[in-house]
Symmetry: C2
Subunit: 449 residues, 2 copies
Amino acid sequence: MDKAEKALKIQPRIPGGFLELLPGDQIAFNWMFNQIKTVFERFGFLPIETPAAELKEVLLAKGGGETDKQVYRLAAKTGETDMCLHFDLTVPLARYVAQHRNELLFPFRRYQMQKVWRGEGPQKGRYREFYQCDIDVIGAVNMLTDAEIPSVIYEVFKKLRVPKFTIRLSNRKFLNGVLETFQVAQYSNEILHIIDKVSKTGIEVAREDLLQFGLEGGKSDTLLSLISFQGNLEEFLAISKDWQSIDGLAKDGILELEMVYNGMREFGVPAEYTKIDLGVARGLDYYTGTVYETTLDDYSQIGSVCSGGRYDDLCGYYTDQNLPGVGISIGLSRLFYQLKAANLLTEQPKATARVLIIRADESATNCCMQVAAKIRGEGANCEVYLEEAKVSKQFSYASRHGIPFVIVIGETELQAGTVTLKDMVWKTQEEMPIEKAVALVTWEQRHRN
Amino acid sequence: MDKAEKALKIQPRIPGGFLELLPGDQIAFNWMFNQIKTVFERFGFLPIETPAAELKEVLLAKGGGETDKQVYRLAAKTGETDMCLHFDLTVPLARYVAQHRNELLFPFRRYQMQKVWRGEGPQKGRYREFYQCDIDVIGAVNMLTDAEIPSVIYEVFKKLRVPKFTIRLSNRKFLNGVLETFQVAQYSNEILHIIDKVSKTGIEVAREDLLQFGLEGGKSDTLLSLISFQGNLEEFLAISKDWQSIDGLAKDGILELEMVYNGMREFGVPAEYTKIDLGVARGLDYYTGTVYETTLDDYSQIGSVCSGGRYDDLCGYYTDQNLPGVGISIGLSRLFYQLKAANLLTEQPKATARVLIIRADESATNCCMQVAAKIRGEGANCEVYLEEAKVSKQFSYASRHGIPFVIVIGETELQAGTVTLKDMVWKTQEEMPIEKAVALVTWEQRHRN
């Protein structure tokens, strides 16, 4: 092949802002995915999956703003279609519930773990394609559901074996109620927006910004001191004393926070994993009560790894039926890459196979296949090296893949009706009857959860 | 809300040609997905996942034709981007292997189960979004791999519990060799195209079409009789006798077919699940040796549920490195809908929860949560009905979801430290100690594979 022909090759690469893993990392990613899925199912959440594309008018019902700019439209050869890729799983959920509401049972507990797409500029930490893992309980009004959701979060992150984390709890009603008593409730979205950014902007900028919405002096001080509050229920009740005696939104918020905080204990979330953090405001106008964020205690740079809250009306754009609910979302791709960067990924095997069968002689081919079939029948993963290659090359394949066991079958073993089993970790090997080797290499995988 | 406001609601619906399932069916779909994945891993295939979007120049490297017309382009608000959604998993695999070839070990055994998109007209049975489940072994030259692939197919469809199926085997070399001896090898793509369509067009149209490529009279008869051949190896060797003595492509093809057919026996595929079917031509220019199709014996209208074959050069558009391989693809979405339509889906539970805990009295709330935590800790899925509702309504929720067990805890049980366990299938119920109920409802799920 001459230079001209070589130049015709297209450089194999993926678009910026998209992610791709080598198989070993993909195994670790899939392990996380499955752990999350398992916990969601433990709590009886039902799986749904929605198309990657929604109709433009459905997806952009809310209209305008950042969303419209970020959405990928689908175009055919003949021009743009009426479809867009979904940018989250909440809008598709709202559409799904509205569309199928007569076929669903409420409260509807659904989980959904899919890719979403956003036309972000491909800067550091901004992905154009990533997995979200969402749960929502639609049609739930009881505060017990607000308390159950954190127990799902707790079980998920325990199962993912991430370092110590804290579930941060707040309530939109409380802060909105405080704004009511300050008579600035009409600016609550703008004010909560300022609050939501305070960790980035700093308190002085926030104080400045609050002025234009009529919050100054003592009011501004009170608000800024409230939103910097982090503590347990007792401490929260102490600092919120002023509002507990006045009927109104603030009092409702306090009562809800109390119910959710105490409920979390009953649901098994230890107190040391829980904080009331009034700085958690979560989004602008979507959430109406409880809000959550989850952070890793020693890795504040990672930010919230799981966020959500309670909303009053999921499907308002599509149906008159009022459907309140509560839900959370885990940004799995981001979490994976951040745990990887911080060297916090739970170690996983780099191969799916637990054992590689090495044909030390061509006459052993059939025997190798039969032993492999036995191992698979016992529920373990097994690969036979099928190419013709020196035994040393086959061993090196097993070792570089991190396959923990190797079974060698050659002429000697074939005549004796045995195999040689080598433990690649401990570097020990032993000739033994086939059945014994099968039992040894399958035991662990069959009993793994 | 008045009429004008109601009219503002957007009708919740999905784009034509896209698919969406209710949760019960989604559970059945996910079960199939997981069964396939489990078998792929049993054989040591490694997972990879590629972005939904590829660069246009990468995806359309092969250029033009049907593909170009079917590809969805991604557009941002500012206009078309340089990205397209992938329309299969083979082109992304080729790009992946070429891009990462220095980090992969060969033979590279990968599985990949993802959605693909095609801008089809949304007619019956044509989907714009569907799952493909692919395995490929890249860098494999030994015919044993061609024999192993059908054993993966066999285990997959056994595990999916579909009705009796047949893996149909052919070899492009044999037919190409026959065309060589007929001195029409230069038209082999066109001729194989005619052959591939013969089941749709009928034999007379094919005979007519073959004329233009210099095949007439005896040659045409021989070819059409060959491609209608279906039988076992012995029968194939009998009808292919003429070509066994002449060195050339046809003889090579016969030898390969023989090796693969016999290898399949060693890999545990029963003879009654295997047929040599020379009518299987599979695609036009991609496959170069072994080709496979799989059909359900009593449901010929469903067509091939799993197809693939051997190719010489996977990554030719992206690298000079020659990478032969062999692989197959299962069109899972299509398979699911066709099994569903034919009432052949393996019955699955309609809920993820195995047990619903009913709070018969508010005082039992904490106890309910604790029992739920115990059941989940034992590895079973459990839901607590958290809304306030009459016991009868809670029972109806369990029964309509098909949750097999209900645990009721009310005042009586609370005082006695017991629960009432009801088997929703057998309609029997019994008051018993908590531990016994936990053991009973968790037993089956913990031991299920």
